[in-house]
């Protein structure tokens, strides 16, 4: 029972990061029907930006904000330099997939040059030191902070999408670019904002994962990208609540397979389960954007 509860705590904190990251991927898919493979690299850059701020001895909330803004700017750059150019030239959407992969490799290469290939860790902070033992279950203050931060980020996003003009514009563009244009939405600007939000979420997720596992490396983004895509498919393409649920589910499945089976099978079990779910329900656990259209 103790092991079980311990894994629930670990799984929720890991899953919350998966959720934050995957929301960005699924948001872009929902709006443009494309996948931005550079999201993983934005995640990695976010982790390094946060690390640099932390190494300067500045407070962690600032590290998070810098990673948010940095990731967001990279997201906008990927739209302006890659996706928009391809769209205007009438390129096929698979071209964007390859081009964003190239952008990801470029960022990884730059990170290797700048930071080296060695694994770095965040400097000690008071949050890791504070640990509560409740009935044999260890809960780090850091884990709680990670989950709360993730939930706040998701809350802000949900609120923005549902209540603000920008959110309304994003939802309208996701539904139909033509309808958006006709009712006076600036589609290009709205898409740019969407890329900012997705990049910002990736950057923030980078700091959260870097803090939680104390591991920052140029290659961390590729691993995360696979998780993000998995969660996106699991939750139903373009479905944001689905991505949240899928993120937590993947986090829990992974830690449980490590605890009860073997860490060697962590990914095999996680992805195997997803494969099974998709066999039963090919649209993902929750239906995606496509099904909700008129």
């Amino acid at each position: 029972m103790t092991t079980f509860l311990q894994q629930v705590v670990n799984g929720l904190s890991l899953g919350s990061i998966y959720a934050v990251f995957a929301i960005g991927c699924t948001l872009i898919f929902g709006v443009l029907n494309i996948v931005n493979l550079a999201q993983g690299a934005f995640f990695m850059v976010g982790a390094y930006l946060g690390l640099e701020i932390a190494l300067l001895g500045l407070p962690l909330p600032l590290a998070l904000v810098v990673a948010l803004v940095g990731g967001g700017i990279l997201g906008m750059a990927s739209e302006l330099l890659v996706f928009r150019v391809l769209r205007l030239r009438g390129g096929h959407k698979w071209m964007g997939l390859v081009a964003s992969l190239a952008l990801a490799r470029l960022l990884v290469g730059i990170a290797q040059e700048v930071f080296g290939t060695a694994v770095h860790g965040y400097p000690p902070n008071p949050f890791t030191a504070i640990v509560w033992e409740i009935g044999g279950v260890r809960v780090q203050l850091l884990q709680i902070i990670v989950v709360i931060t993730a939930v706040i980020l998701m809350g802000i996003l949900g609120f923005t999408l549902q209540k603000t003009s920008v959110g309304r514009a994003i939802r309208t563009v996701a539904f139909s670019e033509d309808v958006a244009r006709i009712v006076g939405v600036e589609v290009g600007r709205t898409i740019l904002i969407t890329f900012f939000i997705a990049g910002a979420l990736a950057g923030a997720a980078g700091v959260l994962l870097g803090l939680l596992f104390n591991v920052v490396s140029p290659f961390m983004g590729e691993h995360m990208l696979v998780k993000g895509l998995t969660v996106m498919i699991l939750g139903g393409l373009g479905n944001i609540p689905g991505a949240v649920a899928g993120g937590f589910l993947l986090g829990l499945v992974e830690v449980f397979s490590v605890a009860y089976v073997s860490s060697a099978f962590r990914d095999a079990i996680g992805f195997g389960l997803i494969f099974l779910i998709l066999l039963v329900k090919p649209t993902g656990l929750f239906s995606g954007f496509e099904e909700r259209r008129a």
Partner: protein, 256 residues
């Protein structure tokens, strides 16, 4: 705001060599209903797409109250007071009727994250105002009791009404309707004709595409007939009905 006057002068559009609109000149007089008729593939919807800025024109001028809008981005055309409905209805099926109509009020509402978080009174009042305005529009188009129903469950005719209400929510001076009566039964068409006349009487210029000639004759002040991407005739419903070229090109074929 007064109704807008729309003038097209030798407007042309090609798609990779295929001439969709060869040369169309027409005027939708302010405060009147103008109908654009013609066989399928004669360039009616393409013309409408050019007016709203969805397609850039290849040649010619499109003037709204004398201002050339042919090169403007769609959101800017919308800001000048041009609204439209689509031939294939485009509504968010999972959202309610009112929510769909509120999309049309996009330009008249601005709420940033901070505004909403701090519940600024200006935001609240603009939200309430736009909601009331959209509810009044639902009443006008005759679907007020359906305001909280998801659009996916509505009949075809009612969905068309939602689309018209959404277009009206943008506060247009010129309303473009692409085959508004398609798929409607006789009673629905009569109600729609009354609605179009009511919209005209609100001081909104209407330009519509329609195959149902009875409907067109009932609502139109002026008719323009297209064939092969050119206008072949124009006049009042009575005049157009008598023109041999029109009978040959359009009325001679069993279309609707």
């Amino acid at each position: 705001m007064p109704a807008a006057q729309l003038e097209l002068w030798q407007v042309a559009k090609r798609f990779q060599g295929v001439v969709a609109v060869d040369s169309v000149s027409l005027t939708a007089t302010a405060g009147q209903v103008t109908a654009l008729i013609g066989p399928n593939g004669s360039g009616k919807t393409t013309t409408m797409n050019m007016i709203t800025g969805l397609y850039p024109t290849d040649a010619g001028h499109i003037r709204l109250d004398g201002v050339d809008i042919a090169r403007l981005a769609p959101h800017k055309v919308a800001a000048l007071g041009v609204a439209r409905t689509f031939q294939n209805i485009r509504l968010l099926a999972s959202e309610t009727t009112l929510a769909n109509v509120l999309l049309g009020a996009h330009r008249h509402q601005s709420a940033s994250l901070l505004d909403v978080l701090f519940g600024l009174p200006a935001v609240k009042s603009s939200e309430t105002r736009e909601k009331a305005r959209c509810e009044a529009l639902l009443d006008l188009v005759g679907i007020a009791p359906l305001r909280d129903v998801a659009v996916g469950g509505l009949s075809y005719g009612d969905r068309r009404r939602v689309e018209i209400a959404r277009a009206l929510a943008t506060k247009p001076r010129l309303l473009l309707l692409d085959e508004p009566a398609a798929g409607m039964n006789f009673a629905e068409k009569r109600a729609l004709a009354d609605l179009v006349l009511a919209i005209r009487d609100m001081g909104i210029t209407v330009l519509l595409i329609e195959h149902d000639i009875e409907f067109v004759a009932r609502v139109s002040d002026h008719i323009v007939v297209l064939n092969f991407g050119r206008e072949i005739a124009a006049g009042t419903p009575e005049e157009v009905r008598r023109m041999p070229s029109v009978i040959e090109a359009y009325l001679g074929t069993e279309d609707a």
